[in-house]
């Protein structure tokens, strides 16, 4: 069985910057993007090391505003 490779896509303008996704990421690759402000006036969450994502969907499961879409592929 190969290694799981995930991709997380953020609908940044829907994010309220609550940080719950960051707290449950098992590989600690999420953070609030303090260099940008979204339409609502929050620093949106983003993946700072997207290549390390394993596609577990913990972030999307706990996100209260359904900001995150998760994809997964299996690497051989």
């Amino acid at each position: 069985m190969g290694k799981a490779k995930g991709t997380v896509i953020f609908d940044s303008d829907a994010c309220k910057g609550c940080g719950l996704c960051i707290s449950v990421c098992p590989v600690n690759i999420l953070a609030l993007d303090t260099s940008s402000v979204n339409n609502k006036g929050y620093h949106p969450a983003t993946a700072i090391e997207p290549e390390k994502c394993i596609g577990c969907a913990n972030c999307a499961t706990i996100c209260p505003d359904t900001v995150i879409t998760v994809y997964r592929t299996m690497e051989e």
């Binding site: 991709t7 707290s23 499961t61 879409t69």
Partner: protein, 248 residues
């Protein structure tokens, strides 16, 4: 690339009006996902409460009805009796269900109305600014209990699930929490099961969901989840209190 997670069709495109980190959004999504997976979106009728989730009718992508404060179970009873073939659910907070609407929820359970109630318990009145609710924990501060709830003066917090489980007409009673991804997945299973119980025409079902209120608790969203786990779960134990006999 396989899609592991995407927004359910059970929710509209309207952004939630909730504060950052409010777990109402998670619970809305769990209900919407359950309805979508059971193929009920075209026929289900929901009843929205008064409270923070008063605009739930804007967010669920199904037929919805608004009820007066606490009266959602009574309105749902009427809808269900006129449309017995349609699944009906109410979505209520603790100020709505456990305080002003206590009579309605007790009697809807006694009558064994074939509806499903999603009861969101965050131990405080959210929309009106953080007043003490019947579910507020002893010692917990609220704007109307600035030194913390005093059991000698206000009594102890009400455990709705345990109370309803003693009623014959209530056939499915479960308490879940949304503080971790694992608990969120369990909560989804319970909500889906509650709808299945209604589809089988077995009686009244309720899922109590322990929720957070970062704004009125005065904590960050992440601290709120920890507070829920340390303080609410010990007083409001998670688990299934009642399910239909053939399941056991």
């Amino acid at each position: 690339m396989a899609v592991v997670f995407q927004k359910t069709k059970g929710l509209t495109d309207k952004p939630f009006s909730y504060c950052p980190g409010c777990t109402h959004g998670i619970i809305h999504r769990l209900v919407a996902e359950s309805l979508e997976e059971l193929g009920l979106l075209d026929e289900v009728i929901g009843v929205a409460p008064v409270g923070c989730s008063v605009f739930a009718y804007e967010f669920f992508n199904c037929d919805m009805h608004e009820a007066a404060h606490g009266r959602a179970p009574a309105v749902a009873t009427g809808i269900k009796r006129v449309h017995p073939d349609h699944p009906v659910f109410t979505y209520q907070g603790d100020g709505d269900l456990a305080s002003i609407g206590t009579a309605e929820i007790v009697h809807v359970a006694h009558r064994g109305e074939k509806i499903t109630t999603i009861f969101v318990n965050n131990a405080i009145y959210g929309m009106t600014g953080g007043q003490m609710a019947p579910t507020t924990l002893v010692g917990q501060k609220a704007t109307t209990a600035p030194y913390g709830r005093d059991a000698a003066l206000c009594g102890n917090p009400i455990r709705i699930s345990e109370m309803l489980a003693t009623i014959d007409g209530a056939v499915f009673v479960e308490r879940v929490a949304v503080n971790t991804p694992a608990n969120i997945r369990k909560a989804k299973k319970a909500i889906k099961r509650a709808f299945e119980v209604q589809l089988q025409g077995l009686g009244f079902g309720i899922v109590e969901v322990l929720s957070t209120c970062p704004t009125n608790w005065g904590l960050t969203p992440v601290e709120s989840l920890e507070w829920l786990e340390k303080n609410m779960i010990p007083y409001y134990p998670l688990g299934n209190f009642k399910s239909p006999k053939e399941e056991k």
